[in-house]
């Protein structure tokens, strides 16, 4: 796809995502019934879980692109990884801010060393490490390789971190969707949640394409600057 195509696709997807976001807000505020035990604060769940899903999607996607970059050495794969990591950082920040807002009401404390919240915090630091490595390297080619290694090792380590923090302590509500015996969430809430996941995924890919188009143009500008010099 050309850069212009990327931009068109990015615009279309982002607009679709924004439309979806408005619908999601309407569903979450007016349509879905209030959960009995937790009350109104449970509504944070419809943005918290989709944001978490998106940030893990981002690291998976970035690790895949990084692995392919190390193998094929196509600049586009490195750009894709960079843009996905940036999006992951944005959505992980959302998880880390909406989670405590919910936790203060539900648990009475802003922060607990709850497994999935801890995992997201560590993921956030892996994203930060990715940018630090990239920016601290004088030779850009080297920085790309180093950053790719950070993304891949981070993605491999996530299952280990997950298992260990779960073993360490669990306070978080049990999974309500991905369960072997089927979801326990009532239909309306499940629908709102799944719609939220869809909307956030569309928004992520829309903005990702936009961001990717920017990187493509930057590479073009750098190339022109080099040939002019």
């Amino acid at each position: 796809m050309s850069t212009a195509g990327m931009r068109r696709g990015g615009t279309a997807l982002t607009l679709l995502g924004l439309l979806g976001l408005i619908t999601l807000y309407w569903m979450a505020f007016f349509w879905v019934p209030t959960e009995v035990n937790q009350g109104v604060v449970q509504r944070i769940f419809y943005i918290h879980v989709p944001a978490a899903w998106t940030s893990f999607l981002a690291i998976g996607f970035a690790a895949l692109a990084s692995g392919m970059y190390l193998w094929l050495r196509d600049e586009r794969l490195d750009r894709a990884a960079l843009c996905a990591i940036e999006g992951g950082l944005v959505f992980a920040t959302l998880v880390l801010t909406t989670g405590p807002l919910w936790g203060k009401i539900a648990w009475g404390t802003y922060w607990t060393w709850e497994p999935r919240l801890t995992l997201t915090l560590l993921l956030w630091f892996i994203f930060i490490g990715y940018f630090m490595v990239r920016n601290a390297t004088e030779d850009p080619e080297k920085g790309k390789r180093f950053a790719a290694v950070v993304a891949i090792v981070g993605a491999i380590d996530i299952p280990f971190i997950h298992l260990s923090v779960v073993w360490f302590r669990s306070l978080h509500p049990e999974p309500v969707v991905a369960r072997p015996d089927g979801p326990t969430l009532p239909g309306d809430m499940l629908l709102t949640l799944l719609f939220g996941v869809l909307v956030f995924t569309v928004l992520f890919f829309g903005l990702f394409l936009f961001r990717y188009a920017v990187e493509g143009l930057r590479a073009e500008a750098d190339l022109r600057a080099r040939s002019a010099a």
């Binding site: 560590l122 490595v133 390297t137 080297k142 390789r145 950070v150 380590d157 073993w167 360490f168």
Partner: protein, 226 residues
């Protein structure tokens, strides 16, 4: 013995001989560990905390900080006088080089971790009894995972202009499983629990170490290429 193993062995031997002659890293790590034990002794109030409850955490944290100090400098000496280029240009496969560096660092860190165990046992009055062998094993498994991960990222941070200051930012998030399983296991063993109770954790620690060694062996070539 096949060529691959001999190449690994040659580099391990070279690094260990170099270390035995200069004693640069082992001396700083050992001194750091003992002095950290002294400081930790004053940092806990023994009237409110039982030393055997916190000793495991302190042992592992000393290992991590001391290990970062020593293992983080793996490529420092060689990068300084350009010897790393020589090693990289030799026909040795890059994964053999990584495994050798990891093995040499492991020997170094394991010696220090046994020293830490002995010194902290003395300082905090730990009585390990029949669990001593298991604690020694757990420290070894944990040290292997740590060394593999830190050796890989030491190569990364040596190549950046931030140097060693970048290393903790990169490895601390990744070391969480090692800390949780290592400390959890060691605390229970110090408190005289049977090994059966922590066997699952030791397996996880082993899986972590294996994954770290494998990932390092595969990815190391991309870090040091050119």
């Amino acid at each position: 013995m096949n060529t691959y193993l001999r190449q690994v062995w040659v580099i391990v031997w070279k690094d260990l001989v170099l270390e035995m002659r200069s004693r640069e890293r082992i001396a700083s790590m050992g001194a750091f560990a003992v002095l950290a034990g002294v400081l930790f002794n004053f940092s806990i109030d023994t009237t409110s905390t039982r030393p055997q409850d916190v000793a495991a955490g302190l042992i592992w944290m000393t290992l991590i900080f001391g290990g970062l100090l020593g293992v983080g400098r793996t490529f420092h000496l060689e990068a300084q006088d350009g010897a790393l280029q020589g090693v990289l240009m030799s026909p040795t496969p890059k994964d053999a080089l990584f495994l050798a560096k990891t093995a040499a660092n492991f020997v170094l860190l394991y010696v220090v971790s046994l020293l830490v165990l002995g010194v902290f046992g003395l300082f905090f009055g730990l009585d390990l009894g029949p669990n001593l062998g298991w604690v020694v094993l757990v420290l070894g498994v944990g040290a292997l995972g740590f060394v593999a991960l830190v050796t890989l990222f030491a190569a990364v941070s040596t190549g950046t202009n931030m140097g060693e200051t970048l290393l903790p930012v990169l490895v601390f998030p990744l070391l969480v499983p090692m800390v949780i399983y290592g400390v959890g296991t060691t605390t229970r063993l110090i408190n005289g629990r049977p090994f059966d109770e922590v066997e699952g954790n030791v397996r996880m620690l082993g899986a972590f170490a294996l994954a770290a060694v494998a990932a390092g062996a595969v990815l190391f070539r991309y870090v040091v290429e050119d």
